[in-house]
């Protein structure tokens, strides 16, 4: 039970970060090494490696060592459990709320308040 809770916390934590979500999206297309995962984010190898570790701890990705390179794959087993669906649902709302935060940050407060006055 405790183990389960820890795992769920790890999952939520892993999915709450936009960089890690982007890494997962990238891994959905093909397996990658850490350098390839770091490249689109203009981040150091060490920083990318830290994100990968969080994804690993959440059971979302699996690491394979090929010579000198660490190759990352999506972990298909992570998609299986019932808790997984709840995690996904939470992640769905988190993504919407990311967009909501962006939208609110981009709006002119005075204009929005006037708009509210005429809303149905």
């Amino acid at each position: 039970m405790v183990q389960q809770a820890v795992t769920l916390d790890n999952l939520f934590h892993a999915l709450a970060d936009p960089t890690r979500r982007a890494m997962l999206a990238s891994l959905a297309i093909a397996h990658r090494n850490i350098g390839e995962l770091a490249a689109p984010h203009a981040m150091s190898f060490a920083a990318a490696s830290k994100h990968v570790r969080v994804l690993e701890q959440a059971g979302l990705v699996r690491r394979r060592i090929e010579g000198r390179s660490h190759v990352l794959n999506l972990e298909p087993e992570a998609m299986k459990t019932a808790e997984r669906w709840i995690t996904e649902r939470r992640a769905m709302w988190e993504r919407h709320f990311d967009r909501l935060a962006d939208y609110l940050a981009s709006t002119d407060p005075d204009k929005e308040i006037r708009k509210k006055g005429v809303s149905k």
Binding site: P18, A22, A25, R89, R90, R95, L100, K115, K116, S119
Partner: protein
């Protein structure tokens, strides 16, 4: 409810809370939920890889909202919502179903609380859900993975 399948209907109960402090007034946050033009700015899929099939928006107690869309993988998602309680600028309570390819995967009670903070506004969502066996039917692991990857990919393009 599933019919015509050998699998036993199953349900998993779950709840979660999401807390955000937003750089906006409670009135702005409420407007982003309560007006069609506000909500469509954020309650949507990013442009690429998703086609809107149906949208209804009737924000009042007893009002109905629906958003149906088709993802790149061909999967159709259906958000079907009824507003149960509304206190302007403070609280929104709604019940919503989600369906994947016409199969119901969940029925949830969602409560949005809006509270001013010293700087910005705290928005708290609490969901209590019944996650249904449709998840297993519609969401074979591969299917579920595709759906998730569609969304993740879309997030990248946002």
């Amino acid at each position: 409810m599933t019919t015509g399948t050998a699998a036993k209907p199953a349900v998993t109960f779950g709840s979660f809370t999401i807390n955000r402090v937003l750089k906006a007034s409670p009135e702005q946050v409420y407007a982003a939920w309560s007006t069609e033009e506000g909500k469509k700015r954020w309650f949507k899929a990013p442009k690429e890889g998703w086609e809107q099939l149906e949208r209804k928006f009737d924000f009042r107690i007893g009002g109905h909202e629906r958003l149906v869309g088709k993802w790149r993988s061909g999967m159709v998602t259906d958000f079907d919502c009824l507003y149960r309680d509304i206190v302007p600028n403070e609280r929104i309570v709604y019940v919503y179903d989600m369906a994947l390819d016409g199969k119901k995967i969940s029925v949830s009670l969602a409560t949005i609380e809006i509270r001013p903070e010293r700087v910005g506004t705290r928005m708290t969502m609490t969901e209590h859900g019944a996650y249904l066996d449709g998840y297993e039917d519609a969401g074979s692991r591969e299917r579920g993975t595709n759906a998730q990857m569609d969304e993740l990919e879309a997030t990248l393009q946002a």
